[in-house]
Amino acid sequence: MSNKLPFLQDIISDNDEYLLILGCTFDKTDDLDKKFILESVDFYEKHKHDSGSSI
């Protein structure tokens, strides 16, 4: 897929192949993060079959 998405360019500039994140920092994952991520996985598992429903 193309990585040249104009709406990303104010945070991210491209070097023809990839996008750059400027100024991001990452914290170590702690217990709260892990809990949130586990909750996410459970929630997604519960709802992923909605996706193809023909409403």
């Binding site: 991001c24 920092t25 990452f26 914290d27 994952t29």
Partner: protein
Amino acid sequence: MTLAHPFNPDKLKFVIYSAKNHQLPNLNFAQSNGEDPLRVQEFYEKFRAGKQLDNELVYVLRYEEEWIGFFSVIFTILSKGDVRTPERRVIDANGTLRGLLIHKIGIDQKYRCFGIGKYILLFCIGLGKSQGNDTQVKIIIFETTRSLAEKIYHPKYKFRYVVKDKKKLVWVYKKIC
């Protein structure tokens, strides 16, 4: 808006949008002051009118019998610029990481204040985590207002953010591995 029963997230449905199968109603995505700094309404009208979106997947949200909002996602590859990353593990050996960009999030004005944004985030993080090892998503990123980032995403869910040029908007991101 007052619901007949307490809001129940189990009743949310996340449906992949298809112009062929879904006829979406008029919804209002402006802020309560009428502004729409993230241009969500414009985006909604565009895909609702059947315009093609490049590389983008749109989910529409239903609650009981009503359409209440949408969000769109893009899988992308990001690479390290002048990034100061204390934890290098999130960057692959070749200096790249796979990310899930939530391009637009829209919740109809009537359905604000039920915490639906949180459930969209939970779904997207779960979607990112569900990818195989080779395509595992390591960062979730989206654009929002600085005010929401400061009041909700950072204090409640520990998302970090980078202020954009215009100062009112920010990129919010979270490592999910």
